[in-house]
Assembly symmetry: C2
Homo-oligomer: 208 residues x 2
């Protein structure tokens, strides 16, 4: 039982080698391959491969924004926890999450919407030029799309990978059809905080 790999770099190298054949068929760029691989690595699930959808300008847009010190706005604390904040801080950015904010709690109570949705509404214009990372709540992603449509708020890019059976597939489809902001998503019901964080980190680690 105790004969297993304990060295972190070795584990990641072996993991990426195991994943490689599962993404080879998609004719990906080297940059896209890294995003696909980290998502599959985070989920332990090669069946993510055909579900991943990266807008052609998304990786470049995220890189440009991160290099310029853009902040990342997450729907829930788990996404914030999963993002490499030390690496992000090198470029001047931080991860912001308002789900536990008192204003947000009050807004959610008063309006009957989810806290994640209220959190995105509270960010409002602050999202312009930033990167949105949704890993849990479809409602948060729907709200960001509404802010783009109705309030002319323009994030640099959206990593939108909420999870679940109520609204997630629909919100991600709406994201992929938004036509204004480049995005990374995963179609269907699967997703989650580690998946959204993995997509962000995969691009972050490509900055030199």
């Amino acid at each position: 039982m105790m004969n297993f790999i304990k060295e972190p770099t070795e584990i990641e190298k072996k993991s990426m080698a195991i994943i490689a054949p599962y993404v080879a068929e998609y004719n990906l760029s080297a940059e896209e391959t890294k995003v696909y691989s980290r998502i599959i690595h985070a989920a332990g699930d090669v069946e993510y491969a055909p579900l991943i959808d990266i807008h052609p300008e998304a990786i470049a847009a995220i890189k440009t924004a991160l290099r310029a010190g853009a902040n990342i706005f997450t729907d829930v604390e788990m996404v914030r926890t999963g993002i490499n904040k030390q690496k992000l801080a090198v470029y001047g950015g931080a991860v912001k999450c308002l789900i536990a904010d008192e204003r947000v709690k009050q807004c959610a109570r008063e309006t009957g919407i989810t806290r994640a949705m209220a959190a995105m509404r509270t960010f409002g214009a602050e999202l312009s030029g930033g990167i949105v990372a949704v890993g849990n709540a479809p409602t948060a992603l729907f709200e960001v799309l509404r802010l783009i449509d109705e309030e002319k708020i323009m994030p640099a890019a959206i990593v939108g990978i909420p999870v679940g059976f109520v609204g997630a597939a629909e919100a991600k489809k709406a994201l992929s059809e938004n036509g204004k902001v480049p995005y990374i998503t995963v179609s269907g019901t699967k997703g989650g905080s580690p998946i959204a964080a993995a997509a962000i980190n995969a691009v972050l680690y490509q900055l030199e």
Copy 2:
């Protein structure tokens, strides 16, 4: 696009109703059904159902420990983030994670093992009577099993759902065969922090 459910209780209720038929075939107790449903809910993936493995004494052991104020020991911060700490605190317990601890970082550097593994080693005897929740690192789960075997450390229960292609399936198999400590796991490569947190919360929410 904007016609979606925004009310949190309604979302959860609908989600559980969608999941119900996928777990109906497993002849589960009401308690087990809640664990299965929350795991599937957290992953957005009904294909978890046949992979979930709950030791017959696990739910009772976790409940008893939580009621007595036991702490929960996690391998990574994302699992800590995902556990409902407010609810846990009602019974006196807290969630502990040492992955960012300086002693743990130093131990990992000096010995070439992962930080998550070093974290479990550093907890050591403190794990006895507590609940272990591993959501990321197979090495952390292997280390807990070693502590049980070699150092007579006895957690009340283990929720062991590490993820990935290097060691995760093996560590979870070893957990299911440990013969000493009741466990909740998911066989194979899939898993992750939200899944481990969901299993813990599913039991926590059953306490009145």
